[in-house]
């Protein structure tokens, strides 16, 4: 179920993405560590979009599978694309002055990670994390 689309054109929008995902994760009662992992991964991807593609958009959606709920964020840009994907995903590779930890790190922080890219056309990265709401009322068994 789509929840919101945030367009990323300035660095302020990167914070907006973080805040939006924090709010939705809280809403679905993600635990603190899972939320922090997801928000941090989103922050890295939004930042990459801005740095290497001049901006793009983030679609946030709620997923559900049986009794589990998930939060998915899709980062889509029309930038230059990534020529060597293996290289870009490996820790320590950066075409800029970065640490080269963003992409590989984001992948480690979430449950699902998908990346599609075409040189000259753009890059789409989607990440998702899952959570099983505790169905017992507080204080219950």
């Amino acid at each position: 179920m789509p929840l919101e689309t945030v367009s990323v054109d300035t660095e302020r929008d990167v914070s907006r993405v973080r805040r939006a995902i924090t709010a939705y994760a809280d809403n679905l009662s993600f635990d603190l560590l899972a939320r922090t992992h997801l928000v941090t991964a989103a922050s890295e991807l939004a930042r990459n979009m801005l740095a290497y593609a001049g901006g793009g958009s983030v679609r946030i959606a709620k997923l559900r599978h049986e009794a589990r709920v998930g939060l998915k964020a899709t980062f889509e840009d029309q930038g230059p694309g990534i020529e060597n994907l293996d290289e870009a995903l490996s820790d320590g590779f950066s075409s800029s002055l970065g640490l080269g930890l963003g992409l590989g790190g984001a992948r480690r922080l979430v449950d699902d990670f998908e990346l599609e890219t075409a040189v000259g056309e753009g890059t789409t990265v989607s990440i998702a994390s899952w959570h099983e709401p505790d169905r017992h009322p507080p204080g219950g068994p």
Binding site: E11, R12, V14, S15, R18, R19, T22, L32, L33, R35, T36, H37, V39, T40, S43, E44, R47, D91, G98, L99, L101, G102, G104, G105, R108, L109
Partner: protein, 118 residues
């Protein structure tokens, strides 16, 4: 313009970061701190990040940058109060900030600076 306040305690500068720190704010802080260090000749910088609930590679890099800049200006930096979830996330990203001082709270940060500068 929005900025993060810098307080002076003895010969230490104390910065308390409470907001979701966006990039511009982080860069402004680095500049402001540089100026204050030169003005005050402070020998220590305490960066209290207990209010931050996320830290990505960019902000971590700015914090590490503040630490090395301060060192050049004669001050030790201590990063204070990193939350458990933030620490685990940074390590997962592959960032361990080796060589940067850390402390559980401001009091212990001050004690650490006293030991370092003794």
């Amino acid at each position: 313009m929005e900025r993060i306040a810098i307080a002076q305690i003895g010969d230490c500068l104390l910065v308390t970061i409470q907001v979701d720190m966006h990039d511009r704010l982080a860069l402004t802080l680095r500049e402001d701190l540089g100026q204050r260090l030169v003005q005050t000749q402070a020998t220590g910088v305490l960066l209290d990040i207990s209010g931050l609930d996320t830290l990505d590679t960019f902000i971590a890099r700015v914090l590490a940058g503040i630490a090395s800049m301060s060192k050049l200006l004669g001050a030790e930096t201590v990063i204070i109060g990193m939350r458990p979830a933030v620490a685990m996330t940074l390590v997962e990203l592959g960032l361990t900030l080796d060589g940067v001082n850390t402390a559980l709270d401001v009091e212990r940060g001050m004690a650490l600076l006293r030991r370092k500068n003794a």
